[in-house]
Subunit: 126 residues, 2 copies
Amino acid sequence: MTIACTTGNHAQHDVYAALCPCRDVLDLLANKWTALAIGAMEEGPQRFGALQRRLQGISPKVLTSTLRRLEDSGFVDRTVYPAVPLHVEYELTELGRGVAVPLGVLRAWVETHLDTVKPDAPAGCA
Amino acid sequence: MTIACTTGNHAQHDVYAALCPCRDVLDLLANKWTALAIGAMEEGPQRFGALQRRLQGISPKVLTSTLRRLEDSGFVDRTVYPAVPLHVEYELTELGRGVAVPLGVLRAWVETHLDTVKPDAPAGCA
DNA sequence: CGGAATCCAAAACGATACTG
DNA sequence: CAGTATCGTTTTGGATTCCG
C-alpha cells in the first residue's frame, strides 16, 4: 500500500509511482547545487557573480544551467539591467520562496545532525 | 570570503563552503532515489523486494547501491534472517527516522505545490 | 560582468542475465 | 529471495576559453 498523494480535486499522486510528476520536481531539486542555490537567494536578489562566489566550487557553466532550470520551472526570476558592465539579478519567485522553506529545514537538519552521520567525510571541519 | 566551517564544539557550518561536510551529507541525499527510499521505509522494516516494487522503476543494482550508501552512513540497518528463501530487512535507524522528517516535509511540499511548478512534467498521474 | 561554447571526466542510472 | 556481475547509456559536473 502506497501513500496516497492526493492533490486537489483529482487524483492520487503516488510519489513512488514511476510516472508521477512529483518525481520530476523531486529530481529537479535533488542534485548537487539546486538546494544550495535556492538557499543562497533566500536573503534577496543575487547577481551571477555573487552566487558563484557563494556557491564555492561551482563553475559558471553549471551555475548557469542550474539557474536556467530553476527559471524554467518558475522558482526563480531573472532580471537584466542593461548597463555597461552588464548587471543581472536572480531572485526567488513566490514559488521559490516556498520551496526554500522545506529545503531550509533539510539544511538545518543536516547542520544539526552532522556529527551523527558517518559518511567518509573529512572530519576536518565539523 | 565565507566563514569556514569550524570544527566540533562550537562550529559555524557554512553549507556553502566547498569543504563543509554538510555538502557530503547533502550530496548523499540529493539523488534520484535516496529521498524516496527513505520515505518508503518510514512505515517500518521493508524487504528488498518490497522496496523494489514500491520504488517503481528502480533496478536491483541501483537499489542495492542506494541502500548500501544509506547503511554506511548510518541511516539504515540491514538485517539478514538466514532462512531458506533468504530474508533481508532494511529498517531506518534513529538517524534515518530523523532525516525522514525533513524529507517528508519536502515531499509534502512537492505534492501540494505540484500544480504551480511548470516543468515539462506530463500533468497526468491522476 | 555574465554568460555561451567546447571538451572532457566521472557519476549515476538502467537493462539484463546469472547465482548462493 | 536477494542480490552480484557486466555492460552500455545518460546525466552531471568541471575546466577552460572566448565573446558581447
